[in-house]
């Protein structure tokens, strides 16, 4: 099977400039820039689930939002279905916004509390160009059972639902637009384990049914392992390793990935590995370390080169990419 990228990122950056107070301006000093996403090259293939992991603040949500054009990239190019997004005409752009959707982590704050399920979904359908109330009603009644809700829920408000049910509403809203690409930003992190499985299964079923492509962000590596075809590991704004899921979990190469995977607690005793405990403090994307951003915590540092020049993401023949000097032969 030839894999075609649905989405391609070339050198994408997203920097936030922190506003300075008057006093700070008077005192001079440099403007502070948060390099939330700092040069990402990435392909997301049609129909796959790409898992995205990395520690808090490394830029996962920012990357997802940048792809969806929720804010413009500071640099680089995003290509959707073969066409650069920023060159799209207004009409095409609206179409892109419909085809690329997001499911948020927090099912509590991502739904308008004053709107009923019917109103929330009708609004989404409206955006797809369905404005006839009868057609809307019919669509909604088809949609609800698809996400495990019933018609009895149609006139209820978000606060009348449990966390898992609210996440289902969020999923229904994204689906209402008939998207091709969905960024799922920690969609199950706020849910209880027993409910989490319901939502994961639902996302898997919907993917098969509607041929969806997912960018799936999660901090629970067991969930990532379960749902992803490929996994990308992010560290301070950059992808440091990317590979097929089993390859990454069986043969992690980047020292950060190695430490991360060794630190996952396991239920099964046989699956436990020797733990690599990192030392040093977690740096911030405001003033990231020069060279390889991981070098202050790295246990396989190669000396000067790691401190001076950021390593490139280099792929082997099996499309296993690593950005680390210690992994280059």
């Amino acid at each position: 099977m030839i894999k075609t990228p649905l989405i391609e990122l070339r050198g994408v950056k997203k920097h936030y400039v922190l506003k300075k107070s008057m006093l700070e301006k008077l005192a001079g000093g440099r403007e502070q820039v948060v390099k939330a996403v700092d040069g990402v090259d990435l392909q997301i293939f049609n129909g796959e689930t790409l898992g995205l992991v990395g520690e808090s603040g490394c830029g996962k949500s920012t990357l997802g939002r940048t792809i969806l054009q929720l804010h413009p990239p500071s640099a680089g190019e995003i290509i959707f279905d073969g066409k650069p997004i920023h060159g799209l005409k207004r009409e095409e752009r609206r179409d892109f916004c419909r085809q690329a959707q997001i499911i948020f982590q927090n099912p509590y704050s991502s739904l308008n509390p004053r709107k009923s399920v019917r109103q929330i979904l009708a609004l989404a359908l409206q955006a797809r160009g369905l404005s006839d109330p009868n057609v809307q009603e019919e669509e909604i009644r088809l949609l609800l059972p698809r996400v495990g809700l019933s018609e009895a829920h149609i006139d209820r408000y978000p606060h009348q639902f449990s966390g898992g049910q609210r996440q289902r509403i969020g999923i229904a809203r994204a689906l209402a637009l008939k998207p091709r690409f969905v960024v799922a930003d920690e969609p199950v992190s706020a849910l209880d384990v027993s409910v989490q499985a319901q939502i994961i299964n639902l996302l898997e079923e919907l993917q098969a049914e509607f041929e969806l492509t997912y960018l799936f962000v999660a901090h629970d590596l067991s969930v990532i392992h379960h749902i992803s075809d490929r996994v990308a590991v992010m560290y301070l704004g950059k992808i440091v390793e990317i590979a097929e899921t089993e390859k990454l979990f069986n043969d992690p190469r980047h020292p950060y990935t190695q430490a991360l995977l060794s630190a996952i607690p396991r239920v099964d005793k046989e699956a436990r590995r020797n733990r690599i405990l990192l030392t040093g403090t977690v740096p911030t994307p405001i003033d990231p370390p020069a060279g390889c951003a991981f070098h202050p915590r790295c246990f396989r540092r190669k000396g000067r080169v790691c401190e001076e020049q950021p390593p490139d993401l280099a792929y082997d023949s099996s499309q296993h990419g690593v950005a680390c000097y210690a992994c280059q032969s």
Partner: protein, 330 residues
């Protein structure tokens, strides 16, 4: 060391009486680590607060005993309890900011907890130091404690405020405060939930070290079964205010007996196993204000039978210190 019997605590609310802790039995030996696992709202924090005597309105303990080193904590005066909390039982709260005060320097907060517990040099050394000199020696003790919990360059970090600490460092400071008293029992409520996996591993290693070196017994509250599996010798599974299963970690995870524990284990993805579809537990957790004394898991249980709705169930020993509360076993 700690034996809890039929402990019950309710919240009187407008919706009704919320049975947050419902006839809970738990025991803990010296130096032992017990994992208390369960889903959100099942009463884990409420259990710890009850042990500490920190239940406040609208909560009310309505029954049971908490035998700590031979004495029932429920019979103690508030003053006596406060003393025990300071000296013998320490707690790490779920939300770091309930422990750390944002407007004081972290080092001073650790020093203050040492002072409260009367563990500073003035006691040990018979008040040899006065004024400035004394403060210096107290600070040395704080540095030592900060070093012990892995806060780097304590001489600098002492003077920083909580917001200048990362989440992991805040959690270390909180552990330092908890360690300031040399407690024999540490109650840790989700101590690593907000932290990244690599930092989580560091904090757990720190707690394991404290357990090894000081023989501190611990109750670790978590919703993460895998974490309990790695860290705890015994596990108690809580559902809707009740302990439904309790036993050695291996027993509970490898031979789960309660349908809820079995369901939980089938619903979590596991790395290293052949990937298969997850089997969620149908339905949702019940409203704790609407319990009627029958098995709270009944509506979600695949093995439910009429007997489940009959009289009260008790914890039954299924062998080897493995206890289950389910009609299938009584």
């Amino acid at each position: 060391m700690l034996a809890i019997e039929r402990l019950t605590m309710i919240y009187e609310t407008k919706r009704g009486r919320v049975k947050a802790v419902n006839k809970v039995d738990l025991s803990l030996g010296k130096g032992e680590i017990l994992g208390l696992v369960g889903e959100s709202g099942c009463g884990k924090s409420a259990t710890l607060l009850t042990i500490l005597g920190l239940v406040s309105y609208p909560g009310k303990v309505t029954g049971g005993r908490i035998i700590f080193r031979g004495e029932d904590l429920l019979q103690k005066t508030p003053a006596a309890l406060r003393k025990i909390r300071g000296k013998e039982i320490a707690m790490i709260f779920q939300d770091p900011m309930t422990t750390l005060n944002p407007v004081f320097k972290v080092g001073d907060q650790i020093r203050e907890s040492l002072q409260i517990h009367g563990l500073l040099n003035e006691q040990a050394e018979g008040g040899r130091f006065k004024g400035r000199k004394r403060k210096e020696s107290e600070m040395d003790r704080v540095y030592q404690l900060m070093r012990e919990v892995g806060i780097p360059s304590p001489e600098k970090r002492y003077f920083e405020y909580p917001f200048q600490f990362s989440g992991g460092m805040q959690q270390r400071a909180i552990i330092a405060i908890a360690l300031a008293c040399s407690a024999q029992l540490l109650l840790a409520d989700e101590p690593t939930t907000a932290l990244d996996v690599t930092i989580q591993a560091q904090i757990l290693e720190l707690l394991a070290k404290i357990n090894r070196e000081r023989e501190t017994a611990m109750i670790l509250v978590t919703h993460n079964l895998a974490m309990a599996a790695e860290f705890c010798q015994r596990i108690a599974v809580m559902y809707a205010g009740e302990i439904v299963e309790q036993g050695s970690t291996d027993e509970v995870l490898e031979k789960p007996q309660h349908p809820y524990t079995q369901g939980l284990l089938r619903s979590i993805p596991r790395i290293g196993k052949v990937k298969q579809k997850l089997e969620p537990i149908p339905g949702t957790v019940p409203d704790l204000a609407a319990l009627d004394g029958t098995c709270p898991f009944y509506p979600r249980c695949a093995q439910a039978r009429p007997a489940c709705l009959e009289d009260e169930r008790s914890l039954e020993d299924v062998g080897g210190g493995h206890w289950v509360k389910c009609a299938l076993y009584s």
